[in-house]
């Protein structure tokens, strides 16, 4: 286990290093002068030149990378030309909102997909199964940002069940920041009104973010369960008089979870990336929205930071998923 962890973390360092070079080079060779874009069309030539010098844009790319990486290792990711602040500061402001969204979305993804999968398998070939199948086809086919717009229109504007923009209603005073996660902070402060308000704000974006993956995993679980239902070991368990619900919840569910968890891991890791457009649509003040802005304005340091953080999260989630799969499937060993 320890060897597995240290090996994966070491691999991770190389992956992140490679990713940093990749994103650094890509962001610099795409056309457009970041200095000019930062200063606007009416900036003077000398001002632009001065900023270029300041940003080391006149040096070769390897030299620029050297400046950037030495700073990054010391925890300095440079300055954003957009917000005129240190990127680290921006990130620490926007990251918690995204993490909160991804966590709530992930919880919905895991819980609801398992629930729907078991339900569909249990009531295989009945109307319940058919309804889940039908919903799944639609949900998988429609991308999350389209889903987000549809949800926003239906539940936010037409039915007005939930508020649609931001993390809290305008009149609300946000709870004192402890973790940066609005729902957790309001619980810590004991402010149930704020908690409920934050929940109402997060539920639509979280569902639209989770929906595609959730329905896909429900389908995978359903077919894994119904495949395994015909396995000899289930007939044997039945033959020994093991109670039905025990067979369902133990003998059938655990082996059926294995394919689901692999796919689920990928989906959970991609939530960060998929959050981009959903955050934009719901005006969610998160990292993805910040990153999107940075890309549109070629804010080099901000782009690198956002991509690196998403890469890092992807890495961590993947390691966690591998550990969970190894716990589920004894045939997989973590290579120690």
């Amino acid at each position: 286990m320890l060897r597995f962890l240290s090996r994966r973390l070491l691999q991770g360092v190389f992956v992140i290093f490679g990713l940093s070079i990749f994103i650094f080079v890509i962001s610099r060779i795409i056309p457009g002068d970041p200095a000019k874009m930062a200063l606007g069309p009416r900036a003077t030539e000398t001002a632009v030149e001065q900023l270029r010098e300041e940003m080391h844009l006149n040096d070769s790319i390897p030299e620029q990378y050297y400046y950037w990486i030495t700073g990054a290792l010391k925890g300095d990711l440079g300055k954003s030309v957009n917000t005129k602040r240190a990127v680290v500061e921006d990130v620490s402001e926007f990251l918690p909102a995204t993490i909160e969204l991804v966590i709530v979305s992930g919880i919905i993804l895991i819980v609801v997909s398992l629930l729907l999968g078991v339900l569909a398998a249990r009531y295989k070939d009945t109307w319940i199964d058919a309804l889940i199948r039908f919903t799944a086809y639609i949900g998988i086919a429609i991308p999350s940002f389209v889903m987000a717009i549809i949800f926003l229109l239906i539940f936010g504007l037409v039915l007005q069940w939930v508020p649609v923009l931001g993390r809290l209603s305008p009149g609300m005073t946000p709870p004192p920041t402890v973790t940066g996660l609005m729902m957790v902070d309001s619980l810590i402060a004991g402010d149930m009104a704020a908690f409920w308000d934050a929940f109402e704000h997060i539920i639509l974006p979280a569902i639209s973010l989770a929906l595609g993956g959730l329905l896909q995993e429900a389908r995978i679980l359903r077919s894994a369960i119904s495949d395994n239902m015909g396995k000899e070991y289930i007939a044997v368990a039945r033959g020994y008089g093991i109670p039905n619900n025990k067979i369902m919840n133990k003998y059938l569910l655990k082996p059926s979870m294995i394919p689901v968890v692999s796919v689920m891991g990928l989906d959970l890791a991609s939530l960060m990336g998929n959050a981009f457009l959903v955050e934009k649509i719901f005006n969610w003040p998160g990292l993805s929205r910040y990153g999107l802005n940075a890309m549109l304005t070629k804010d080099l340091n901000a782009i690198s930071a956002v991509i690196l953080i998403i890469g890092l999260m992807f890495l961590v989630i993947n390691i966690v998923v591998d550990i969970i799969i190894a716990a589920l499937d004894p045939r997989i060993r973590l290579g120690d």
């Binding site: 000899e232 007939a235 655990k254 082996p255 294995i258």
Partner: protein, 323 residues
Amino acid sequence: MTNELLSIKDLEVWYKTYRGYAKVVNGVNLTVNKGEKVGVVGESGCGKTTTMKSILRMNVQSAYVNSGEILYSGENILKMNEAKLQEIRRRDIAMISQEPSAALNPVFTIGEQIRDVIRYSDTKKKFTKEEMQSKAIDAIKSVMISDPERILASYPYQLSGGMKQRICIAMGLVVPRNVLIADEPGTALDVTIQDQIHRLLHNLVEEKDMSLIMITHSLGVARELVDRIHVMYAGDVVEVAKTDDLFKKPLHPYTIGLLDCVPKLSGGGISEGIYGYVPSYINPAPGCRFASRCPKATQICREQKPSMTSVDAEHSVACFNYQ
């Protein structure tokens, strides 16, 4: 008979397929007495396993019992309510699967699976973990495996085929029972291990005074292990006799063909076998299902199904033209 423990009467099991019903088990009659070892012999795909799985209602969903009854101590298992059936599954009858690798759940340890069998064998009694563990260890020891603790902590993929087969037997015997059904317990193994497993099964069953139903495709195996043999062909029991009688005086042409396939030490080379193969079960022709392969078939064989005729008290055959 007074000591009749389990009897199958006119059992018909059909499989639902896209082309219609496959009438696989075609009115099987079979009896097992208390403490008796019975063999069910026939070639692959003749409905042996389907018949046996019907006893504990373990068949896949696409199989359904069209008619017949299965009496255990006078009660029809097929009409029994769920609770009653579960009781029989937990304490009276166990079936050892043909494929030990498929019969064990890959994601739980052997110990976990055996302990569950013990745990539910008596729902009124609460077994402690230690009790279950010691019962499991005893069962593993009884099938000649050393180091039972390590085996109980292992997952199926860590063990060899022979080991898994022994564990399946141990699982069947961990709770004292009246009937053990062994479905070709040597098939997946090499011949030396196969022989060991058969002996082991034979001895354990004798020791515990259980009834055994041994499914096999080899008359040679049946001869060594069982008291009485039911020969099955294409979903019918075609001949029933004491083992010795069957070998001395086989009556059904199929039995004679099968006996011809048992290799003899006295030479004679490889036998010719039985020409042809088991017929399709979907829309089978009327008459004897063996007719198309039978050297003695006459007109009546193709038109009417022969019924079981008693030759003497212990020997009966379903054939119009038996010798």
